[in-house]
Symmetry: C2
Subunit: 314 residues, 2 copies
Amino acid sequence: MAAAIALSRRGRPASAPNPNVGCLIVRDGRVVARGWTQPGGRPHAEAMALAVAGGAARGATAYVSLEPCAHASPRGPCCTDALIAAGIARVVVAAQDPDRRTDGQGVARLRDAGIAVVEGVLSADARAAMAPWWMRQDDGRAFVTLKLATSLDGCIAMADGSSRWITGARARAHGHLERAQHQAILVGRGTLHADAPRLDVRLAGLEDRSPKKLLLTSGKAPAGWTAVASPDAIDDVDSVLVEGGAGAASAFLAADRVDRLLLYRAPILIGGGTPALGDIGLIDLADAHGRWRLADSRLLGSDRLDVYERVREG
Amino acid sequence: MAAAIALSRRGRPASAPNPNVGCLIVRDGRVVARGWTQPGGRPHAEAMALAVAGGAARGATAYVSLEPCAHASPRGPCCTDALIAAGIARVVVAAQDPDRRTDGQGVARLRDAGIAVVEGVLSADARAAMAPWWMRQDDGRAFVTLKLATSLDGCIAMADGSSRWITGARARAHGHLERAQHQAILVGRGTLHADAPRLDVRLAGLEDRSPKKLLLTSGKAPAGWTAVASPDAIDDVDSVLVEGGAGAASAFLAADRVDRLLLYRAPILIGGGTPALGDIGLIDLADAHGRWRLADSRLLGSDRLDVYERVREG
């Protein structure tokens, strides 16, 4: 299942508005096919994997990160029927599909057809890999990742604004990979004017993944940019990477609209530089606790990346 | 040898001005004695271990983190002679003693007595465990550790100065353990007046380890405190822990007098709070790089401790 979930990440963000699902087909202990939701949402992961597997799907086990869909659409048959027709013997499911048209019916139909089904395997991991789609399903809003690249003393630039470079090449490349996994990137007016950022994906083979560019502003946006009046006013994308500066970051935090933090930290001290954040509305220090959980931590060259997720009570 | 080096850490800081050495005596694959430099510098680690080992030292191997001393003193015989007299068959040494009165002569005398000697085993680790003593030998100054406890955005307090608590209980206990390993703790005037810190060691069994209290000030110090006019003006202790605030931390960094950084970081965001540092004299961002090397990283509850060491070219 971990491999199926890793495949699901390949679908981000191009599968939107469809969920990015991963599917692995295993027969006699060997992987016979891999699939993930393709750009625009079709083919689904299961359809792609079944097409690769061909006759090898008969009697095999399918690992899917999301319950197979149970509703036919004008764009093709439902995956539940396709799995049954291909002769799959067993289906292992991570997360149940919250879409009302499936929501348990996919699993039920598989069982009715005599297929063994195991549910709930690594479901939290699967949900995390589909976080933007899930956020749109549950809360009807975009999933927001805030990226901060700071010195050890929490500065995003020197006092004069210079910030090239705080982090090293590997951390910056990782930041480009994150861009490629988001539908949109957002900056504030200060960053637009100071840095004139290209905000494209500078990684070989991923140049066409450069996301939509959003500008947080009460005014108009220049050509090539879309104006966003407030952190709550994002409605046409499911995933946004907030890249800076301190004003935009603080606005999203003050509105409690940040779901994931990417903290790239270089082993340098600046001293008296530009702080990463301005006021975010914190009144009492005690209220700052319990909001962020460390989800990942790794070294990228001599920089450290810590990934935190916002803890929200069900 | 790693065990002998771990023992050497027990001697800090009470062995000063003598080096904190560790000694392990092993016979037939079993540890028969452990020793480390005692408060005030006597007995030496080897003398303590030989006293414990008694007759079991005959034919045994002694692991010592620093070359045994070759000079007798009014306070006792030299360890080289004691090892020979006890019938030790083999001595494994980490670091050579830079003290002119020994400086290779300890090893030479052991060899002259027919003892097998292995040198240079884990010498860098042994030196790190004796860093304050080594700094005093090489550079004639105190070894300075700077402690910073910050939020993820690099704040040491809210804008109104409140800082209780940023880090959790485990990180604070670790901070007390660090206090116990230093001869002195230093704060600036702002911290003295704002927090009236006790700066004692609040760990069971270590209460008597509370270090000397230094105040960075151009004026006089209150009762119980010693005034220090500048980061270069510390001469009667070998190890200092700078605990705050931003002014004192920045003064030591600007003078390039910080050898080790303890960064305790809580998973909280403050926003617009008190920055960890003020101006430290950095002119060009490129100059900030290459100065700090990550030496340790661990989670203390939900906080992270990163330990950085100043990289200095030999």
